[in-house]
Amino acid sequence: MSDAEPLLRVEDLRVEFPTEDGVVHAVDGITYEVHAGRTLGIVGESGSGKTVSSLTTLGLTRRQGARISGRILFEGQDLVALPEDRLRAVRGNDIAMIFQDPLSALHPLYRVGAQLIEAVRAHSDVSKAKARERAIELLGLVGIPDPARRVDEHPHEFSGGMRQRAMIAMALVNEPKLLIADEPTTALDVTVQAQILALLERLQRELGMAIVIITHDLGVVAEVADDIAVMYAGRIIETASAARVFADPEHPYTWGLLKSIPRLDGPREEDLVPIPGAPPSLIRRPTGCHFHPRCPYAQPDHARIDPALEAVADEPSHFVACLLESHTRRRLWSELGAGRTPAQALEAVGLPGTAA
């Protein structure tokens, strides 16, 4: 991270939803920065709070009765404290968002062009004809063939990849400084995924915007992200540059994520190692380290002590929230990197293990 003033700085953001069953701690004190022109990948399983945190950036969790605390500084302005009408002027203008399923995210009854035109006219006082020109221009920019004709079609006449391109065009009509992409490729075919990611990279180069890309797919962030934040149970448990996270991950959960995706360059007989168990309830979270019930390397006192996100010894821009000793973590990761299972790694390192 550079020393320059970040475009977006989220500070100790907490989002809670009071429900009949109890308070859902969806986002539990996260802090991160995004600099102009850079890409941050937020990675985590479903229910880890990654979507809620970005919806909150746009104020879209307010009307769901969320209790929000902390600060979201965008160009020095705190979006959490901003009144609704002023926040509306930021949404879709300075900060735009695209969503996972482009079919359900586009209104089925309106023409694609009309949906782009209203996005233009929500923020600038231009004629319909001018806005339409802009819509056609953007549809062309995102690679939709024959945009002057397709602008008058309905979303159901577009293919999945074309719909996501249209969503991206809609997000970009007002040249946002920050684009939040929430699982932008999850609902698409693999070949189309690659096209959409390449498109996002190209647009970022051309328009110079910052991107926050939210995904459960490490393959996606590997492709586009400069920095990565790994979220678990509403918290960021590890954050560093993308290169660092892939080469020297420090958190057992990150290891789990990396070990559970197949690699083309690894030995074919190497087994994938899934992370055991399911994500915890965000109403009654585990005590101590929230990951300890699923962590093969958890020690007895990890159920008691809540780890803080701290800088790694020799790398001040790499933060991790883990109670294991730094040298133990590195030895464990090198064992795992050599193809050992978590149980074998534990034995090699000489830790009393809980892995069965």
Partner: protein, 319 residues
């Protein structure tokens, strides 16, 4: 699309033939009051009854009667003559159609506009006191029968017997062409009473339909674009209304049924009242004519609804 409409219209005609045949079976074949007997006075002579039967055409074999009846309706558009007044059923209906159209069209407007707006307000203020009050009122309006509600309105608000003498009471209907203002005021209570049930039904459905669409991803997209909330709601309403259009077609029949009762309670000289009296006097040609007219309305309304649906939802295409 044109071919679709033509096909639907042809099916509508088939349906009307079936309705006409069913009417014949219901009133002529199955045991009912003998119209000749009803007209032969007290202590009738069998000979007189026989003569009346000949005059009314009831002495011919049933198959011949059926053929005559169907032929007249579908080839000559002639519904026969009233047993009671000898007038042609067509002219009886034509005479009373304006009153019924006034009643049903006005009630339909009130039903749709009132039902949808209450539903929208409730959906946007879900679980508020206003929502609870409106939905409680809607439940009441669905539950009470029209004739009871009509009588309550008369006892409360009519200018003759009412507690608060606000609106003209029963029997005050005047045609639109005679006096538009009197026409309007005389129909206010009948409109409300007739529309209440359907409007309440629509309000409850619109509430749940809109509540659901406001949770859709594309509504989130609309907000993420920074659209003003009014525009966001408009997009939600646009989607939520579609299922209501189908229900409109179904509910038209309920409204026509209710019109019979409301015309009776408010003494409006319309088709419903004509139908009601024709049943009382076994005036079969009039019964048949009015029922066929009602069926035709319902069939037409449903065709219009289906065509409108294709127009309103670009994903629907008929072939």
């Amino acid at each position: 699309m044109i071919r679709y409409i033509i096909r639907r219209l042809l099916w509508g005609v088939v349906l009307l033939i079936v309705v006409a045949a069913l009417m014949f079976i219901l009133f002529r074949v199955l045991p009912t009051g003998n119209p000749a007997l009803l007209r032969a006075g007290r202590d009738p002579q069998p000979k007189l009854v026989k003569e009346i039967e000949v005059v009314l055409g009831l002495s011919k074999p049933l198959t011949v009667q059926f053929w005559d009846y169907m032929k007249e309706i579908f080839f000559h558009f002639n519904f026969g003559y009233s047993y009671y007044s000898q007038e042609s059923v067509k002219s009886l209906i034509a005479e009373r159609l304006p009153a019924t159209l006034s009643l049903t069209f006005g009630a339909a407007v009130l039903w749709v506009v009132g039902g949808l707006s209450v539903g929208i307000v409730s959906a946007l203020r879900r679980h508020s006191l206003l929502d609870r009050t409106l939905m409680g009122g809607a439940l009441l309006a669905i539950s009470v029968p029209e004739f009871w509600l009509g009588l309550v309105f008369l006892f409360l608000f009519s200018s003759d017997i009412g507690k608060f003498k606000i609106f003209p009471g029963a029997g005050s209907y005047v045609p639109l062409t005679t006096d538009p203002w009197k026409w309007f005021t005389s129909l206010i209570m009948p409109w409300i009473v007739l529309a209440a049930g359907s409007a309440a039904f629509f309000a409850r459905l619109m509430r749940s339909s809109l509540s659901e669409t406001m949770e859709e991803d594309y509504i989130r997209t609309a907000r993420a674009k920074g659209l003003p909330e009014r525009q966001v709601v408009r997009q939600g309403v646009r989607s939520a209304i579609n299922p209501m259009i189908t229900l409109f077609g179904l509910e038209v029949g309920v409204l026509l049924g209710g019109a019979i009762l409301v015309e009776a309670v408010f003494n409006i000289p319309g088709i419903g009242e004509l139908f009601y009296k024709s049943i009382q006097t076994s005036d079969f040609p009039v019964t048949q004519g009015t029922v066929l007219l009602g069926s035709m309305f319902i069939i037409l309304a449903n065709i219009v609804v289906d065509v409108a649906y294709a127009y309103l939802d670009p994903r629907v295409r008929y072939s």
